[in-house]
Amino acid sequence: MNRVHVTKTILWMLVGLSTAVALTRYMFGLGATTNLTDATPWGLWIGFDVMAGVALASGGFVITAIVYIMRQERFRPIVRPAVLTAFLGYVAVILSLLVDLGLPWNIWHMMIYWNPHSPLFEIGWCVMLYTSVLLLEFSPVPLESTSRWARVRSVLMKLRFPLVLLGIMLSTLHQSSLGSLVLIMPFKLHPLWYSALLPILFFISAVALGLVMVSFEGLATSWLYRRKPETDLVARLCKAAAWVLGLYLVVRLGTISAAGQWALILDGSWESFLFVFELLVMAVIPMILFAIGRVRRAVSGQWIGCSLVVLGMVLNRINTGGLTMIGATGDFYFPSWMEFAVTAGILSFMALVFLSAVEHFHIWSEQPHEREADPHASPEFSRSGEVWLGSPPVAARTRYSFAFVMALAVGVALMPGERIRSSGVSQVSAQAARGGDTLFIDGNRDGFGVAFDHPRHVSANGDKASCVLCHHMNAPLDKQSGCTTCHRRMYQMADAFQHDWHASPKGASIACVICHEEGVYRTAGSALPCDACHRDLVPPGVTIEVKSYRAPSYVDAMHDLCVSCHRRKTLELTDRPDHAQCRTCHETPLPDYLQPDMADLLRRPGYNHVVLPAVVKGSN
């Protein structure tokens, strides 16, 4: 296994993993897979994949401008890889959008429903058009291997200059419009990143990043295929990048100066540190490195400088696209592993397409020889499995398919079932009611509960006989279990039975056949009821029938219990028409003998007027 094989296997695994996540996302929605919230509706997929992705794909327009517009012939060898990477980058952006958009099948709506005032509308159109332009710019390369399409190819070659020109014009628009995207949020974006000149800053930085990205790709692929790196060309690109980065710094610091925001940089907030770090990494340090001739001509210097710019630019796009809005929204967002997996998977897929194109078409001046692309090479033998894997292409396909399928299976197994089932409901444990004769029932302790007059309810419902109206079940060996013993969760069903504990040798260690009859399919419905063993579980005379081993949420249990009884009473007590209304319970006057902390809760102004809408709707 050489570098290429190992890399491709890893890439296929990431693709498999992201496929599993994408399937989950389409079946169960964005909430099941992402950490996005109403306060942070844009996350990694917009901040990195779209905002940074478009910027990272800027190499295409920069290099075509250098070679075709400025006629710098020595850069011609890197035009093809640059255009191909740009095209794949834009496809990656579109794929990310298809995952991120809530209704991705409506993405074409931008063509028929126009809102020309929206920056996103303009970006959408530019990305659509520019991706098509890049496809046309690149397609002569795959077409040169066949003679059948010679006519088409010659037409495309004639169209190349206009296509390049159109590509540069379109890139100018959407690279800068990505900056306009956040201009509408002055109330959210941190002032150090907000500037009316954001579109211009975005465009300048995209040009710098384009120069650096082309160098970076050259360095990375020459490492991968053990090619000789184009050190001289990269050094020239880095020198140009140093100038553009300098221009960027001047404009960026100029906007800070003009807005009088120097004090913000020094105020010691986390944003100020982030700003300094971002500026150092994306512009200042690489500019200095690239300005030194010896550094920019050394492969290690190129690696360090290019990596810094790429990292810094990505950080800049993420900061502008949402990270520095945290200060205003107060909602801390960190992507879920599934969001990272999808991002990695899409990039991996594009990398695989790139490597495949490099092996099959004439992208570089010298085409790397890959055994797996050669159907006439001798077959491979796997020592561990002791099997013939077939010819190298077949063997490679087998390996990659295995990596993909296994990663897909692992991804499906890792899907958080709890998260999918609960569909985002906050997990709040119900707290037991407090107090003596007057119980303060407030399961989530938010101070908007009910003060329940226990003696009055007892005397009004027949003293001793009244207990079982509410206390319908006890835990085994207990005579007075509280509601929260089974109704453990505030808003969700809870398991009141604990099947695994009953079956486990460390728990009750009961054989299956004791509860589940032999020969009948084993379900909760066909099993023995609890009181077949636990005879003290249900007190005699209980009117409430327990139908399931799953206890309803505390809120539902309390409301069902009180409201259903109060509704019946409304018919009996003709003088109390409001007996089943929210405020009957939620407006009980404050008893003065409550414990001090409860009294404090009850004294809060909201307490006496709260009418829970859920009661009205859930009670019929």
Partner: protein, 252 residues
């Protein structure tokens, strides 16, 4: 003519009848707290809510502000959000593609998303546009027992609001929230406490669509200008290379 709502914070008793009425009018499912809600009570299943915790001792009903120049409508790439002649900012789910730019652009953080659905839509108050067109007032207004929140022409409500301030200068802060904030909103507030917390940062008096206007107007000039610049550059360099002799770019 533009309809509006005036909410008087000093009159609200926090009974939540408006919330119940809204939920009943649109048959919204029971709302339970979810991890993706903000702590203001609004969600895809709850389009208006009453802030009970802050400020102390007051109830502030929040809902979509129906801005005169809505940022969400300017942001939406397909125009799924539109301001109608009646003054309501309404959402067309048949156009929406789910980019959630409207949620990012709203200075009050109002639009909510169906995070738990595989077919998600943006959800927010509609100002009961169908009821208005039938000549009725919004459901929440009809339900309010204290007339703390009232409905009418925006101009009339502004006059009324300033009249109330003039009548009870000791009772109100001399400011109608929503008169100028973000270019003016269709939901006005009278209050005896500061309501700055209703928007992300202290409200500005600029209409947000204005912030992208300059950038969007320079799109066409930038497009043409870059094309002309590139052609000119190409012509100059080509000519210089020709004068220096040879070294021209051969095709392919």
């Amino acid at each position: 003519m533009s309809k509006a709502i005036l909410t008087d914070v000093t009159k609200c008793i926090g009974c939540l009848e408006c919330v119940s009425a809204c939920n009943a009018e649109y048959d919204l499912p029971v709302d339970v707290p979810t991890v993706w809600q903000k702590n203001d009570g609004l969600s895809a299943k709850n389009w208006t809510s009453i802030l009970r915790q802050q400020p102390e001792g007051r109830y502030v009903r929040i809902q979509c502000r129906h801005c005169l120049e809505p940022a969400c409508a300017a942001a939406c790439p397909v125009g799924a959000l539109q301001r109608t002649a009646e003054g309501a900012v309404v959402y067309d789910e048949n156009k929406c593609l789910g980019c959630r730019y409207c949620m990012m652009a709203c200075p009050f953080g109002i639009p909510r998303y169906d995070w738990d659905r595989a077919l998600p839509y943006v959800r927010k108050c509609t100002l009961c546009i169908d009821r208005i067109r039938d000549g009725r007032e919004p459901a929440c207004i009809a339900a309010c027992p204290e007339d703390a929140t009232i409905f009418g022409e925006r101009e009339d409500l502004l006059v009324l609001a300033h009249q109330r301030i003039a009548d009870h200068p000791d009772r109100y802060i001399d400011r109608v929230w929503g008169e100028h904030e973000f270019g003016g909103t269709g939901v006005l507030y009278l209050s005896d406490v500061d309501l700055e917390f209703l928007s992300y940062r202290p409200a500005m008096d600029i209409a947000l669509p204005k912030t992208i206007e300059a950038a969007m107007q320079s799109v066409a000039p930038a497009f043409v200008g870059m094309g002309a610049f590139m052609l000119g550059l190409n012509w100059i360099i080509k000519r210089r290379q020709k004068l220096q002799g040879g070294h021209g770019s051969e095709e392919e």
